[in-house]
């Protein structure tokens, strides 16, 4: 990827593409199509410079940084609880999932463990934010392929999960609920029953969406065989999450490398993979994951232990000197925080490994030779959140 701070190289790239006679048979000139930073399909401020031969993409260059907010630097001047509120905004559709790996890294450095009830609720909320995130993807991908209605259904039924998250944490999008050593509050009364209802609604939504969109012939024509990523390429570009599993790699941090503090081993669930590696496989894997997440939530709701939700931690949190990296399987893929502490109120350095940044790095490889509409399918199915790319 080219750095945005280098306008000369961007201009040179564009000029070169215009001059190139890219199609030698017809002697036609190439065209440079600038998609974004304001473009409906990039849902955010991603810019893609595509060199085209007719409608065929010769090369596509994603350029990020239009939404860079400097989170890694900001963390160096904020205390740990303050950082928790900040990093909610990285992947804004699955906010709670952003908090968890950071809190777990801090807990690991401090040697604190949250009480079992807090671990259970953490996992439930983690999976709920996964559902909130991915169910919107399913609708939004339909929207990008021209099927409007799926988008509205997704917005309607995502509301069930958001309401649950809101009633438990007080925040619809940015809960800021996780604490070092536990959670801010216990669950409200009647929350477990209403969560069961919400999960049932979500499972029904998945069925409905499968009928409306994923099973649709036009949708399959637009996604099957498009943007195929073989397993070894996916691994070499550092893809993670559903994008990697759709290429047939059976890899899920929730099962393989679950950090202490999350209780995925207490539920019976399955990691879905798909051998094809195309846009359809990525959509299908995400659809199955939404169902699995709902199943995990339903099982954990039935087995929540009683007890406190907060361990004994000092009022003023000073993290002892040391380094820790904790990564979890977030809705978009592997999300990890490498926290270096010098024993201060604030961390010395935090490196955020967010999934979307790696996931879109494969765009130049996979977009080559695709048509412009396929580029939309590929971008849509790779599923990035701009805040997760730029941080």
């Amino acid at each position: 990827m080219t750095a945005i701070s280098d306008p000369q190289s961007v201009a040179a790239l564009a000029a070169e593409a215009v001059d190139n006679r890219v199609n030698l048979d017809f002697e036609t000139e190439g065209m440079t199509l600038n998609m974004g930073p304001q473009h409906p399909a990039t849902h955010g401020t991603l810019r893609i410079i595509a060199r085209l031969d007719g409608e065929q993409v010769i090369s596509a260059e994603p350029m990020c940084g239009y939404m860079h907010r400097g989170y890694e630097k900001l963390t160096e001047v904020r205390t740990y609880p303050q950082i928790n509120a900040l990093i909610n905004r990285i992947d804004w559709l699955g906010s709670f999932a952003n908090e968890v790996p950071f809190i777990l890294a801090a807990e690991k450095l401090m040697g604190v463990e949250a009480p079992p009830r807090a671990q259970w609720i953490r996992t439930i909320l983690f999976e709920m934010s996964r559902i909130a995130n991915i169910s919107l993807f399913l609708g939004d991908f339909g929207l990008q392929l021209g099927g409007m209605t799926a988008g509205f259904y997704a917005f309607r039924d995502r509301e069930w999960v958001l309401n649950q998250i809101e009633s438990a944490t007080g925040g619809r999008f940015h809960p800021n609920f996780d604490r070092i050593g536990g959670l801010k509050d216990d669950l409200p009364k009647g929350w477990i029953e209403s969560s069961h209802t919400a999960m049932d609604k979500l499972l029904a939504f998945c069925d409905e969406l499968e009928d409306l969109l994923v099973g649709n012939e036009i949708f399959q024509a637009r996604t099957r065989g498009i943007g195929v990523i073989p397993a070894e390429i996916a691994l070499s570009y550092g893809l993670s999450g559903a994008n990697l599993r759709a290429s047939g790699v059976d890899w899920d941090l929730r099962r393989d490398n679950c950090p202490p503090g999350l209780v995925y081993d207490k539920a019976d669930w399955k990691v879905w993979t798909h051998p094809d590696g195309d846009c359809f496989a990525r959509t299908w894997v995400r659809l199955q994951e939404t169902r699995e997440a709902a199943k995990i939530v339903k099982q954990l709701l039935d087995t929540i232990p009683s007890g406190p939700v907060m361990a004994k931690v000092p009022r003023i949190i000073k993290v002892p000197e040391g380094e820790a990296y904790v990564a979890t399987e977030n809705p978009l893929g592997e999300m990890g925080y490498y926290v270096v502490s010098k024993g201060d109120l604030v961390p010395f350095r935090v490196k955020i490994r967010s999934a979307s940044f790696n996931n879109i790095s494969i765009v130049p490889w996979v977009a080559r030779g695709a048509y412009v509409p396929d580029l939309i399918s590929i971008l849509g199915s790779l599923y990035f959140i701009l805040g997760d790319i730029d941080r």
């Binding site: 065209m31 199509l33 473009h39 409906p40 399909a41 409608e55 339909g142 929207l143 990008q144 392929l145 021209g146 099927g147 409007m148 209605t149 509205f152 259904y153 309607r156 409306l212 969109l213 649709n216 036009i218 949708f219 024509a221 637009r222 048509y371 412009v372 509409p373 396929d374 939309i376």
Partner: protein, 345 residues
């Protein structure tokens, strides 16, 4: 009143003036009705949301409010644009829509020009709009616009053919190319001697109806064939540089054309302005004709918009292969079968 209308024979200048006024009043009205009923209300009902609520009773005046808003906007032409062509293009699109309405019969005599070759005329005129689209795309000096316009041109070539071929079956069966003649043939016809519902051609020409509706979707650049204006790919295509009332004209033309095509489908396949229980020679059709036609148009428009709201969009090459490999052969088979049966029966 009906007798009064029947004996109404104004001088040439007056009848011309009336016809001009009627067409220029009907076109925006139909666009408003379709936009309001389908784009706002039915669409929001299908997508489980409320739709416009505030402007007028139950939000019925929302589109008027939007129209007024468009009129207030600045008329911008981009810097690199071919200004004259850029400004004329929406009018060319609207012109083809206006001309479509000239041949549409709302009853035996409520028609601006009762052409002997009405079918031929409407199909030929409808393809003129692509000239305006090409002009808009070329003159906008935007790559997205140009791609949209070229997609529209390619789509037109692919979809005029199946549309024309689909209609030929009806023409063979009716034995006339006059739209009024086709209405009469359907309503005065009978199914093996039983004239209970006349003989609407959808019963025999259902293949033609299906192909016609599919081609209409492509002609109107609606999903699943909305590649020329695909928002998520080429940011509304040839319309992207237009503002204010020039954009409004595109919108008007699109919905008025949708209404016109629904009316053509109603005339060709559903019996047009007549109901079989009232003889077509009745003077009541001066009043009933437009109402009956409107009801049938709404049924066809519902199908068109239902598909529009439900399906994702094809890719350009998939559209071409659907047109050339599926629809055109199917239409040709339909013509052959119709011709054979016409001779045999």
């Amino acid at each position: 009143m009906t007798l009064l209308l029947a004996s109404f024979a104004p001088p040439y200048w007056l009848s011309t003036l009336i016809k001009v006024l009627v067409v220029s009043a009907v076109v925006p009205t139909t666009a408003l009705i379709l936009g309001m009923v389908f784009l706002f209300k039915i669409m929001s009902w299908m997508q489980s949301r409320l739709g416009p609520q505030e402007a007028g009773p139950r939000g019925t005046l929302q589109l008027l409010a939007d129209g007024v808003k468009f009129l207030q906007k600045e008329d911008i032409a981009p810097n690199g644009a071919d200004r004259w062509v850029f400004k004329v293009a929406p009018l060319v699109v609207l012109m083809s829509t206006l001309l479509l309405y000239v041949a549409l019969p709302a009853s035996m005599h409520l028609v601006v020009a009762d052409l002997d070759v009405g079918v031929f005329f409407v199909l030929a005129i409808s393809s003129l709009s692509v000239i305006g689209v090409l002009m808009a795309g070329w003159a906008s000096a935007s790559k997205y616009s140009l791609m949209g316009a070229l997609r529209a041109a390619g789509q037109l070539i692919a979809y005029e053919l199946p549309m024309v071929l689909a209609v030929i079956g009806v023409v063979i069966q009716a034995g006339t190319m006059s739209l009024n003649g086709i209405v009469l043939a359907q309503n005065d016809g009978s199914i093996f001697g039983w004239g209970g519902i006349g003989f609407p051609y959808i019963l025999t020409q259902f293949v033609g109806f299906f192909i016609f509706i599919a081609a209409v979707q492509a002609e109107l650049t609606q999903p699943p064939f909305d590649m020329p204006v695909a928002e998520s790919e080429i940011v509304s295509g040839y319309q992207v540089e237009y503002t204010g009332f020039r954009f409004l004209i595109f919108f008007l033309a699109e919905f008025a054309t949708a209404f016109a095509f629904a009316a053509i489908a109603a005339v060709l396949f559903l019996g047009g302005w007549a109901v079989p229980w009232l003889p077509t020679s009745s003077d009541w059709y001066y009043v009933l004709g437009p109402i009956v036609l409107f009801a049938k148009v709404m049924v066809v428009a519902f199908i068109i918009f239902w598909v529009r709201f439900t399906y994702p969009r094809f890719r350009e090459d998939q559209l071409q292969s659907l047109a050339w490999k599926v629809l055109i052969p199917l239409a040709l088979v339909n013509i052959v079968v119709t011709a054979v049966l016409k001779v045999v029966l």
